[in-house]
Symmetry: C2
DNA sequence: TGCTTATTTGGCAATATAGCCAAGAATATC
DNA sequence: GATATTCTTGGCTATATTGCCAAATAAGCA
């Protein structure tokens, strides 16, 4: 694989990696409904606010979410809703592997 | 976040994580064209075969690819082509952030 | 100005991931 | 059976990620 090709897949991996965490997937799902501030998300998630802030930073750096200051609060919103198209496929994969694993157990 | 919800996002993250690597994204792209054996992919990628084999195992465990033995060789094929729908969006994100970052540099 | 609240960042420890080499397992060929 | 080939796995080191606490920053309010 040449350098240019590697770079292209590296760039893609950065985006995918940004979503490769349960908490961040949850955040994306929530922000798809409405924009929220860090405190609200922290409440829903139930982790330390610093942890949630870091997850949001990862999503922001990847360009998946956008932030906007409103007084003391920082509101985050989904910048790339096309990301959501992916989830349907992910669910399909989960269901299909569940079936496969069930048939393996039966053997 | 309750346990059931956490589990759901955990399951999704497993799938997304399986793709969160440049080499594995490359593999998915290649297998979208045609099924290939480990040696062929190793050739294209230019890493140790053991490394490629491990990447394939990750994709297989996640249910993204499927393998089939053919003599000494193991052919892998894409099991979930809907995964590809995602790449378009990823490219859009990359392009849009490139523009954003350009404007930041200009400042 | 001093105080409170919301958020980010530094620093650290625990855990996970990636890559290579060498060794093992499976299959084909002689 | 011995040998070669393809692939996987064990074992190791290096690196990256995650999560928490504590400290820093930023904005609003008394």
């Amino acid at each position: 694989m040449d350098v240019k090709t590697r770079d292209r897949y590296e760039a893609r991996a950065t985006i995918v990696k940004a979503m490769a965490h349960p908490t961040r997937l949850f955040i994306v799902d929530k922000l798809a409904q409405k924009s929220m501030c860090v405190a609200e998300l922290t409440d829903l998630i139930g982790a330390d606010m610093s942890t949630v802030s870091r997850h949001l930073a990862v999503l922001k750096t990847a360009g998946i979410v956008q932030d906007r200051k409103k007084g003391v609060q920082v509101y985050y919103r989904l910048r790339m809703p096309c990301i959501l198209n992916f989830f349907g496929c992910v669910e399909t994969v989960i269901k299909s592997t569940a079936i496969t694993q069930l048939s393996l157990v039966k053997k």
